[in-house]
Point group: D2
Chain length 93, copies 4
């Protein structure tokens, strides 16, 4: 059975759809001149939701692709470096 | 002439629409089993775009509401504390 | 009575001394080949402590310098832009 | 030859000593009532330096402990979960 499991993908897609809805909600708030601090609170909820999706994907990737590469090929170190670049990018956003 | 200017709002709305499109693009990538690292790269672009919108709103809010409160009322300190809570929340996401 | 109050400065200095001690503790852990995850946990405590100091200073700065500039001079907008640059830098670290 | 290599540890220790010096410099700035924005700029340099050390340690840990566990034992998944918890903690600071 391949990793990622289909159930993970469903969960990730459902989170992404929720985030899409939140971004649309923020547009509505801005159009209707909502109080800036309330808009910013909604925006920080989006960042937080998006980072949860990222961690979920990172877990799948490490348990799937990276672990496979470490176990069965010479590309393990390469795959680990690739993951670290991603983590670095997230720390800098 | 009130602050925020209408042009700021247009710019913010156009950025938010772009972010909404990016989130939809990420859903498509996940559905089509795109390489995890590519999906994560797109996700970090969303975080970065969302934080730019947040900084833009923060600027408007500080130059508008907060500056007004500092100048003309006793609520300046309160408004500043409110802004700091928002900044804190962003640092923790 | 000037802002920042002396008591704030004492509190900030005491936090910074604690952070300095934590950084020394991390050096000791690395020298003694402590388990990486334990070292990383200590490092995240330093980041968190340093950000608390930053938020404290930011509060003082906004209630002091920035509020003064907004109230009594034409440099309010400039001071606000300066603060936003700092916040942006923290979001990107 | 064991991983981490001694040279990595030297590099990490030298970075940590530099960070310790920066934290002491910030204490001096606060004592001497330096301009808040300058202090905050130094603080963001510390955060950035500390995160570089964290990424370095994370790389060693993943190429060493985690890769070993993935290759030669059943604890691979456990080690990956442990790493992800660390990454999550860094995203939230």
């Amino acid at each position: 059975m391949p990793y990622p499991y289909a159930s993970d993908r469903d969960e990730i897609l459902s989170r992404l759809r929720k985030i899409e809805g939140q971004v649309r909600g923020i547009q509505r708030m801005v159009s209707e001149d909502a109080y800036c601090v309330d808009v910013l609170t909604q925006i920080s909820a989006v960042v937080s939701g998006v980072e949860k999706v990222a961690l979920r994907l990172l877990r799948e990737h490490m348990k799937g692709c990276v672990a496979d590469a470490v176990r069965s090929s010479d590309e393990g170190a390469e795959k680990i470096d690739e993951v670290l670049k991603v983590v670095e990018r997230f720390l800098q956003t």
